[in-house]
């Protein structure tokens, strides 16, 4: 087996500048790295084509196996059977771990995977390791993804017979900016430059826009507006988008997403079949890992079967004295996972509400992703959207990667004589961005679902008399309190002229460009002065690196409320 070409092209997290300056004769490829599966697609000059690996597969498992010193991923490697992936040597589900700290419940859920996920619960990155020659060999989610991306890149280069440098990647809606920098880092490690990180349902929306445009071309129609609701449920994440499309322009009206997916369905079923699973597998001994693997494969298999049949027998000997002999019914599966399905419904209704769209005005309901084969998933979306029929024009597993490939071609400046690339997606912010003010509250400056590029400004004032410094702490998220959100960065404004509290005017402006690069500007507005005494600050975010869970706490401990700000109501 050939050694991996492991090149680190750039350690820079600031890839945004290049996006706008480089001229791109080559067509960027689209990559969908799913929690469980991944795929690559490219615009071949007339249409989008999915690339296949040497085993003729379009869908490849997202994992990396560590054997001796050479790691190998699911693109090139062929496992003799499913159990080999669950022997402790294979790392998978990285999309659920990347960019998360060890206090995150999603990370805790990953502890029942058959490799090592160790947490200290202090807000640092979790410790992840694979079992190699009876020792836990540490790695990171970025490294695992990079190894995987190197294989995908090699596969694409072999088929397209050209070097691949630029990529469009699909990402979950709920990913924060810190997670996006981790994905960019993994790409940089694999020698790939990220042209765009596209929320998965917006990639599907782009494909839908193209399909609608082709239909109107054929009918010579006027291209009236069509509204679609896109529901994308994969192994790790569930996302919803409402898009309005006309004339090749898709306006994303609202996005909603959550870190729930097939993995949760699987884990809930494993716990249902073996209620003491957590204690049984807590020490990760070799026998435990083996038993865990057996249970995982059998449960996954049963869930798959329940998509087409109403009951499935499970006969399993875990080898440690516990045996499972049971007939599992579809109703049981739906009942055990009731909360997950309820959350899915909430996402749909929330997204429709945020888009200010009446359900009657939705022209098409699109359900994609690996979980779209589950009858309950289809049912819940059709009933939430009061539909009988779902949109049929898309392959549920390929829609996102096809959209990414379209975006790759459009962003590379490729034009198509038949107008198939006359497409534009007007994206929106997936999470609110704001600062800490009014005593530990999160004050959003750019609200969620704001059209990008976006620029918003808000005025704040001091919390104390003669306060000369103020701490600008930038967060991203939906919680009202800052602790519920993700810290992006912080900086201090100094030189505020001494004045009673509430008098100074401190302006904070946030700018998100079309490439989703965030810049924060802040400074003191000097009334009646023609010579600003203090320069303004311009900070590109996120600036925090690993351990950002710690960081916020340290800031709080060191400064408390002494450098607080208070939001100012707009004078009308």
């Amino acid at each position: 087996m050939a050694e991996q070409a492991y090149t680190v092209a750039s350690d820079s997290e600031n890839t945004g500048e290049e996006k706008s300056s480089s001229t791109l004769p080559e067509i960027a490829i689209g990559i969908d790295i799913g929690t469980s599966q991944c795929s690559v697609a490219v615009w071949n000059g007339s249409q989008v084509e999915l690339l296949k690996n040497t085993r003729n597969q379009k869908m490849m498992r997202s994992y990396v196996t560590y054997k001796d010193d050479i790691p190998s991923g699911g693109v090139s490697n062929q496992l003799s059977n499913e159990h080999e992936m669950l022997s402790g040597a294979a790392i998978f589900n990285m999309k659920r771990l990347v960019g998360r700290v060890d206090t995150d419940p999603v990370v805790h859920a990953c502890k029942s995977l058959p490799f090592l996920v160790q947490t200290l619960d202090i807000g640092v990155r979790p410790f992840i390791a694979a079992l190699v020659n009876n020792a836990w060999r540490s790695t990171t989610p970025e490294e695992v993804m990079a190894i995987f991306l190197v294989e995908l890149r090699a596969m694409a280069e072999l088929q397209l017979k050209r070097p691949i440098r630029h990529v469009v990647l699909t990402i979950p809606v709920s990913f924060g900016r810190f997670q996006l920098t981790r994905i960019e880092r993994a790409c940089a490690m694999a020698g790939l430059h990220v042209l765009r990180l596209m929320p998965e349902p917006t990639a599907v929306a782009l494909l839908y826009a193209q399909q609608q445009q082709q239909t109107t071309h054929d009918n010579m129609g006027s291209g009236s507006e069509k509204i679609a609701l896109i529901f994308n449920m994969g192994a790790g994440y569930t996302d919803v988008a409402v898009t309005a499309t006309a004339g090749g322009v898709s306006q994303i009206r609202a996005l909603a997403g959550s870190a729930i997916g097939g993995e949760d369905l699987l884990q809930n079923m494993m716990h249902y079949l073996l209620p003491n699973a957590d204690t049984l597998f807590s020490s990760h001994s070799i026998n435990e890992i083996k038993a865990m693997g057996l249970l995982r494969v059998a449960t996954q298999d049963a869930i798959h079967k329940l998509s087409t049949q109403t009951s499935v027998p499970i006969n399993l000997d875990l080898g440690n004295g516990s045996k499972i002999n049971k007939v599992l019914h579809r109703q049981e599966f739906e009942e055990v996972n009731r909360k997950v399905f309820e959350k899915c419904e909430t996402l749909v209704t929330q997204c429709l509400h945020d888009a200010k769209v009446e359900i009657e005005d939705v022209n098409d309901v699109i359900v994609v992703g690996g979980c779209s084969y589950i009858p309950k998933v289809k049912d819940l979306v059709t009933s939430a959207c009061k539909r009988k029929e779902l949109y049929k024009g898309m392959n549920p597993l390929e829609a996102a990667v096809c959209g990414a490939a379209l975006e790759g071609a459009v962003a590379s400046g490729i034009s198509d004589p038949f107008g198939n690339l006359d497409l534009l997606t007007i994206q929106i912010a997936t999470l609110a961005i704001g600062i800490r003010a009014d005593g530990g509250n999160f004050i959003p400056i750019i609200p969620r679902n704001t059209t990008m590029p976006a620029r918003k400004e808000m005025t704040f004032t001091t919390a104390h008399d003669n306060q000369t410094e103020a701490l600008i702490v930038v967060y991203e998220g939906e919680g009202q309190k800052v602790e519920e959100n993700h810290l992006l960065g912080y900086f201090k404004i100094v030189g505020i002229p001494p004045a009673p509290k509430g008098a100074p005017e401190i302006s904070v402006c946030m700018d998100v460009d079309a490439s989703n690069v965030l810049r924060v500007f802040a400074g003191v507005v000097q009334l009646g002065s023609y010579q600003p005494a203090m320069p303004f600050m311009e900070v590109r975010m996120p600036t925090v690196d690993d351990g950002h869970g710690w960081c916020a706490e340290a800031l709080n401990r060191a400064y408390g409320s002494t450098l607080d700000l208070v939001s100012v109501q707009k004078k009308i």
Binding site: A514, S515, F521
Partner: protein
């Protein structure tokens, strides 16, 4: 309640108009290496200032009639987005930063006019301004660029008393 101010003291030329801030006030646009462009800074319009400065109405920004239907507004927005959106401009191999400002302006116009309530409110203010501008013109010829603030309806009422 916290409300957003849509004006931008970081970018807008309104600093000059209001006369309370330094005209050479640092424009953050021009500090950025990639965005140095005089036209860039000057095209940034304070979104709410169309009325105050009287340069162009939101209808003019979108290139539509004042009677335009909701559909016409959407179509115009999409047509312009296809030209000025930074993604389109970058894909054509040009610099995208200047177009971000233009797109922001168009989106601002679109989001006001596509919301019936906001549009009605805007129309009312626009009408007031035009009417007042006309009457000012007939009453006195002193309307000049220095008197922007006096174009505001409230000021006009005090003028009327006088």
């Amino acid at each position: 309640m916290i409300s957003l101010t849509s004006s931008s003291s970081f970018f807008g030329p309104n600093v000059v108009v209001e006369g309370r801030r330094n005209p050479q006030y640092p424009s953050f646009r021009s500090v950025r290496p990639l965005t140095i462009s005089a036209s860039c800074a000057s095209t940034v319009e304070r979104p709410g200032s169309h009325i105050a400065t009287g340069t162009s109405s939101l209808y003019e920004v979108l290139g539509i009639r004042m009677e335009a239907t909701c559909l016409e507004i959407k179509t115009a927005y999409r047509r312009l987005a296809r030209v000025v959106h930074p993604d389109v401009v970058v894909a054509r191999g040009q610099r995208g930063q200047a177009s971000a400002d233009e797109f922001l302006k168009i989106h601002e116009a679109y989001s006001t006019l596509s919301d019936p309530e906001k549009r009605a409110d805007y129309d009312r203010r626009l009408f007031e301004r035009q009417w007042q501008a006309n009457s000012r013109f007939t009453m006195s010829s002193s309307s000049s660029n220095s008197g922007f603030s006096s174009f505001r309806p409230r000021k006009w009422e005090t003028d009327q008393c006088w």
